[in-house]
Subunit: 349 residues, 2 copies
């Protein structure tokens, strides 16, 4: 009688990535825990979805999402063959690992950061070197270079800190590094600067973007990389044949076209970010200056776990990480003015 | 000055999977080359998409597609923790490789079959053993067992032959095999039998299904595995956190609920399959009896490449494989009666 087949040892050992809590349908929760944009997606994206042609659903989509590539090439001023689309930027990260890193190679990243990086690496038998950020959340350039890494990933702006490294510092790292430097710009729409110019200049820099934050389409699962065309060509071999569905290609293209709408939401989030940071500061929180759509706040007395639970009991969900260096802090997504007011009202007086 | 970063040698060596041709928007083509269902998707699935709530798009989806798991558990009579959803069944196959096969391990499959299997394996540094089908497209049980494989994949019904192995023969292989046996049931909705009972009985059998064929939703990218719960739990660690988008979860659940509609399309395809096979036979083609929604037909005089081009020039697209054992054959998707008539009319007189 057959038994359960063997699982790969590195998979058995893996601790899975733990996504933020998602309340069930109908739960009345102020949800400030997974960094979604609080405003609805572009009406143009919604119209693209609602007017979907059944024949588009019936057929396989474009394997390389050509409509989106053409749109992104125009919006970003790069060539279409520099765009690789993915089923969320998580898939872009996974494809990147599987294209550039052999089992036994090293992936380095500044730490703390997006907790998916080590999960992806471990699932492929790749070593990770987590390099602590330098004081003031500066890029630890020399330590990253000395790590022996074949690739460096870093989120810019970073999660869960919200801090951003200036493109000049990223350029310094890229110039000194022989491997792939992936700049994960998931939160870049809320920041002052981005690294797009570096991709045009340096063949070892890739940036990665998503529709989950700036475009209010986390439910759609759509992200993309911008990189030198030869890198995109090799990554295309590694991705699934039809990795982006037909609806997401249409909706993401429509959302990207609608820059005016998206920018309005980014401005509104940035304005609320300033207000919320100031209000939290007045209540004794130590708030890291943020370039993203969330705030990392050290709680008065360090009682972050207690505060997380007390807020949850009052129907306000924020993110708590029971990890060294983070256990006295909460990560709070910037919501609408009304949501932020509700959070502030739920804090102990 | 940095150069292009190094690509993994096995990726550089890889020949990419080549998807079937997809005509551009507006091209008037009778498209019988990539095995889509010729009928539109269920009106219920379409309604789920068109009535999508913007807030569902704004938020992250359920990481494990709980609505779909509950629906599939009910429809198939298994427990929800035996269901793993994927971004198309291609992603299920990729997750399976990355969960069960270490670099250097062997994946075996009967050949010819779905050409993605070796592509997936090579991208992960896994050896493949392609075992020729036995006469009459019977499962080469002993050769597969002797291959030293840690996993066996096979499509049932198979592509591009359309032939099916009876569950009793699959069971015989599974009972004698210590590794994972994945039965890729992409085309099972058009067949007389399936291997669902084997999954309930044997912990090393997994089946994999898709909405791309039987449910007319190739554009949606949604597939799933049914397997023992401990296997699903480990595969969940390997998949991307949010691998299925919110729209596809709603639409696939609605389509699966609407079994009556789907069955009507399967019956219509099966009826046309019989008619088309008979008509092709009368015109000198040697047609393999098919349990799928396509026919593999040896062309009169073996002139398959010429016929492929002549049909394409007349606006009828079928699939030609320039491969040993297939170069005298065409794979023809069963279309609507009108599409099949157009194909027959386009054949040389």
């Amino acid at each position: 009688m057959p038994r359960l087949p063997q699982i790969r040892p590195n998979v058995l050992r893996m601790a899975p990535y733990v996504p933020g809590e998602q309340p069930g349908p109908g739960e009345r929760i102020i949800k400030l825990n997974t960094n979604e944009n609080p405003f609805p997606p572009s009406p143009r994206a919604l119209a693209a979805i609602r007017s979907i042609d059944p024949d588009i659903l019936r057929r396989y989509p474009s394997p390389t999402a050509e409509l989106f590539r053409a749109t992104a090439a125009r919006v970003h001023g790069v060539s279409a063959d520099m765009i690789l689309t993915g089923n969320g930027s998580d898939e872009i990260l996974s494809i990147t690992v599987r294209t550039f890193l052999d089992p036994g190679d090293t992936l380095a990243y500044p730490d703390p950061t997006y907790s998916l990086y080590p999960v992806l690496a471990e699932s492929c038998g790749i070593r990770v070197v987590a390099v602590p950020w330098e004081p003031g959340w500066q890029l630890p350039v020399q330590t990253l270079l000395a790590s022996g890494a074949r690739a460096i990933f870093f989120a810019n702006p970073n999660a869960p800190t919200g801090t951003a490294v200036r493109p000049a510092a990223v350029r310094e790292l890229a110039l000194a590094f022989a491997g792939l430097l992936l700049v994960d710009e998931a939160y870049v729409d809320f920041a002052d600067e981005n690294c797009l110019d570096l991709v045009r200049e340096l063949p070892n820099v890739m940036i990665c973007r998503t529709f989950s934050k700036g475009y209010s389409l986390a439910g759609l699962r759509f992200g993309y990389a911008i990189a030198a065309a030869p890198l995109v060509a090799e990554m295309t071999k590694v991705k699934d044949s039809y990795n982006c569905d037909a609806i997401s290609i249409l909706a993401a293209s429509a959302a990207l076209e609608d820059q005016d709408y998206a920018r309005d939401t980014w401005q509104a989030v940035r304005a609320e970010r300033s207000r919320l940071a100031a209000e939290l500061g007045q209540r004794g929180f130590d708030v890291v200056p943020s370039q993203a759509n969330f705030l990392l706040a050290t709680c008065p007395g360090g009682l972050a776990a207690d505060l997380y639970r007390s807020l949850k009991a009052k129907g306000v969900l924020v993110r708590y990480f029971a990890k060294p260096g983070l256990a006295d802090k909460l990560r709070i997504t910037v919501g609408t003015a009304a949501q932020n007011d509700a959070l502030l009202a739920a804090l102990p007086g």
